[in-house]
């Protein structure tokens, strides 16, 4: 009873935090806009001066929605990967899945120059199908290799190491492609790699959010299977679950989530790895029926907070989001681990 109450409180706190941070993202930016003006724009009474309306509705709103969607997508994907591989170090960037998406993007960018297209140069890729397809294909390919290996080698550490090695190999291929790229392509790719939530318009951001939520619902429907997998494949099998199908289905969904989160914003580091740990720490549970909603609210508040932190106060420009998530994410994870270590000792 007591535990459930605490879980409920944490869930409430992080839900409210997500909402507050979402509004803060609309309010705070390089251009100072008062609360009243933000509210006026949101209720559609901004009047004559449409400058604020454009800034809030066309620039800050898609950014906030994208941050929200990416936070959900990467956190849920990270949780699924950690459970399926039964490894706390599994995550989109660790297993090379983000690198797979990056490879897809790099190939399209340099192939684009061959075909006379300038894909990344256009900051607003209106459902840029080749780019999305390439990122999804890249990340799913890496996942397929990992699944293939996982079916033959049961040792999770070995699988993890192989994942890391695939990540290095894919990064090396990306490096070679970059070496032969033109200067402007290189610049485009580097900027893409630094990450930014401000490259989507409202339609894309909402598309991203809807797909992320739909895929999360798919994951939620597998929460019993995830719980069973956490206790080992033998246990899962004995409880009547088709282990192979469940595993593969979950990994494909995770791969799609990572690819979607990556293609519009660039590879966002740390969120997928860190958020499941934070969620387990705060919610003190390993039941996926609770953990999935928990990573949703925590992941969303983390990316929204990072997007706020990226807008440096007093400066007219923003930091790359990838740097901010790592700068905030790494100390948080270390703090959590150290704190948990202390608790265990006493």
């Amino acid at each position: 009873m007591h535990k459930q109450g605490r879980t409920g409180i944490w869930f409430l706190i992080f839900s409210v935090l997500t909402a507050v941070l979402f509004l803060a993202n609309l309010w705070y930016g390089s251009v100072l806009i008062s609360w009243k003006d933000v509210l006026a724009v949101l209720v559609g009474q901004s009047g004559e001066d449409s400058v604020y309306e454009v800034i809030i509705l066309n620039y800050r709103l898609p950014q906030a929605i994208t941050a929200l969607a990416v936070g959900i997508a990467l956190s849920v994907a990270g949780l699924v990967l950690q459970t399926v591989f039964r490894n706390p170090l599994a995550g989109p960037s660790v297993l090379g899945i983000s690198s797979g998406a990056s490879l897809g993007v790099a190939i399209v960018v340099s192939a684009g120059s061959l075909a006379g297209l300038e894909l990344l140069n256009q900051s607003y890729l209106v459902f840029d199908i080749p780019l999305v397809l390439a990122a999804v294909t890249g990340s799913l390919l890496v996942l397929l290799i990992i699944i293939f290996v996982a079916q033959r080698i049961s040792n999770v550490v070995t699988i993890l190491i192989i994942g890391i090695m695939i990540g290095y190999t894919v990064s090396a291929v990306v490096g070679v492609i970059q070496f032969f790229s033109r200067e402007e392509e290189l610049h485009a790719y580097i900027l893409w790699g630094l990450g930014s939530f401000s490259k989507t318009n409202n339609a894309q951001a909402i598309f991203l959010l809807v797909i992320s939520v739909l895929l999360t619902i798919v994951v939620l429907s597998y929460s019993k299977g995830l719980n069973a997998l956490l206790l080992g494949t033998a246990y899962a099998r004995s409880s009547g679950i088709n282990v192979k199908v469940t595993q593969n289905m979950l990994l494909v969904v995770a791969g799609l989530l990572v690819a979607l989160g990556t293609v519009f914003t660039g590879p966002v580091a740390f969120v997928g790895l860190a958020v499941p740990h934070l969620a387990r720490n705060f919610f003190k549970t390993s039941a996926h029926g609770l953990l999935i909603p928990a990573v949703i609210v925590m992941g969303a508040s983390l990316t929204l907070a990072c997007n706020l932190a990226a807008k440096l106060p007093g400066y007219d420009t923003s930091l790359p989001i990838n740097a901010v998530t790592s700068l905030i994410g790494a100390p948080v994870v270390i703090w959590v681990i150290v704190k948990r270590g202390k608790v265990k000792k006493t």
């Binding site: 006379g116 140069n121 900051s123 790229s181 402007e184 420009t317």
Partner: protein, 395 residues
């Protein structure tokens, strides 16, 4: 090889010391032969500063002096004005026989037949000065628009010595140009070309933030060859036309506001208030929105900062990159945020097609035409019937 080393090791310490001393003395003498010829630098040092007048009037990146048929070329650090990073002495080989030239890579023989030129703008200057016959190597041949250079590349009279930002070091060493005009992105003492041992001559025209200063670098290239007078008259002509055009906007009644460039991957790189294009805007009688800024190059800003300042600006200047399709529809498709600017709504986008006009290659030696294009856009009545070359208002 090992045997003498063992012998040395076994030698008594005193005798070893004598041996070292003898070797050192011999080395010192062999490197310091009797100096019976004067050094070129001392020739210039002897002349008082007041008598040494530079031929350079506008450019801040170099100075050029000439004494007794010897040219002294001083190159300054592109970011630290006045800090000398290199000095070259250029003279005909008949003049050089009177001077000490050994161990002096900064003494250059006039009229080399084997120069490597790694900057597209400088190659354009070579073409204008009819000096292409002196060039044996270039880089990034794929992006060169100049017909003459392309022909020479195909015939093999000019060789590509680098591409995609990488130098073909071994090829450069096998071709052995007399010197390399290079154009590093940033000044660094440890440039990858250093390893070739070939004299490197930095060419920093793009760091000049005034149009006449940038055009004056034509004198820099010409200083290495006989036809200097041609560069001098070419520049005088540019200067005359530029100042004539500039004087047209002195008395314009109103100055339209203008902003520049596009959003790119989350950042809007805005040209600084002391930049090349800011000078052109001013001279063309426009009011550049960031004119009070102190940057000489571009700097990144958030979209919302640019929008809040420029949403009512009269003109929007864009230099399209290689594969851009210039149209309002394409702009709107690239980024729906663009549609909110007044300059977009009133169809006042001032576009330069970088590929068709070879803007990056040629415009630095035609600043008067760039200026006239801008004046024609901002104040069409001042230049009735003018045909723009680089910039036109997007229809």
């Amino acid at each position: 090889m090992i045997y003498p080393l063992i012998k040395l090791y076994k030698m008594a310490p005193q005798r070893f010391a004598y041996l070292l001393l003898t070797v050192s003395i011999l080395t010192i003498f062999s490197c310091n032969p009797k100096q019976n010829k004067p050094e070129i630098a001392s020739l210039f040092d002897a002349i008082p500063d007041s008598l040494l007048v530079s031929k350079v009037l506008y450019a801040s990146g170099f100075d050029l002096y000439e004494v007794h048929q010897i040219r002294k070329l001083v190159v300054y650090h592109p970011e630290l004005p006045g800090t000398i990073i290199a000095t070259f002495y250029i003279a005909d080989s008949s003049v050089l026989t009177d001077f000490e030239v050994r161990n002096a890579p900064n003494i250059i023989k006039l009229n080399s037949e084997r120069a490597a030129v790694f900057s597209a703008t400088q190659l354009n200057a070579f073409d204008k000065l009819s000096l292409l016959g002196h060039v044996i190597g270039i880089t990034e041949g794929e992006y060169i628009n100049n017909r003459h250079i392309k022909e020479k590349l195909e015939k093999g009279e000019i060789i590509e010595l680098g591409a995609n930002n990488h130098f073909f070091i071994e090829k450069i060493m096998s071709v052995q140009p007399d010197y390399i005009f290079y154009s590093p992105y940033k000044f660094t003492a440890k440039h990858p070309l250093k390893v070739t041992g070939i004299p490197l001559i930095p060419f920093y025209d793009y760091h000049e933030n005034t149009p006449l200063g940038r055009a004056e670098w034509v004198k820099f290239s010409a200083a290495f060859f006989d036809g200097y007078a041609r560069a001098d008259s070419l520049f005088k002509d540019i200067e005359r036309q530029y100042t004539t055009y500039r004087s047209l906007t002195k008395d314009v009644a109103s100055k339209p506001t203008v902003f520049s460039d596009k959003y790119f991957n989350g950042q809007w790189y805005v040209p600084g208030g002391k930049s090349y294009i800011a000078t052109l805007f001013k001279d063309a009688g426009a009011d550049y929105l960031w004119k009070d800024d102190q940057h000489t190059g571009s700097f990144p800003l958030d979209y919302e900062i640019v929008y809040s300042k420029a949403y009512e600006a009269d003109f929007w200047r864009i230099v399209g990159s290689y594969d851009d399709i210039p149209s309002y529809d394409a702009l709107a498709e690239e980024n729906s945020l663009y549609e909110n600017f007044k300059a977009f709504k009133t169809k006042h986008v001032l576009w330069c097609d970088a590929q068709k006009t070879a803007y990056f290659e040629r415009s630095s030696l035609e600043p008067h035409l760039v200026l006239a294009d801008l004046i024609f856009a901002f104040h069409p009545k001042v230049l009735p019937g003018y045909q723009p070359k680089y910039y036109h208002i997007l229809e």
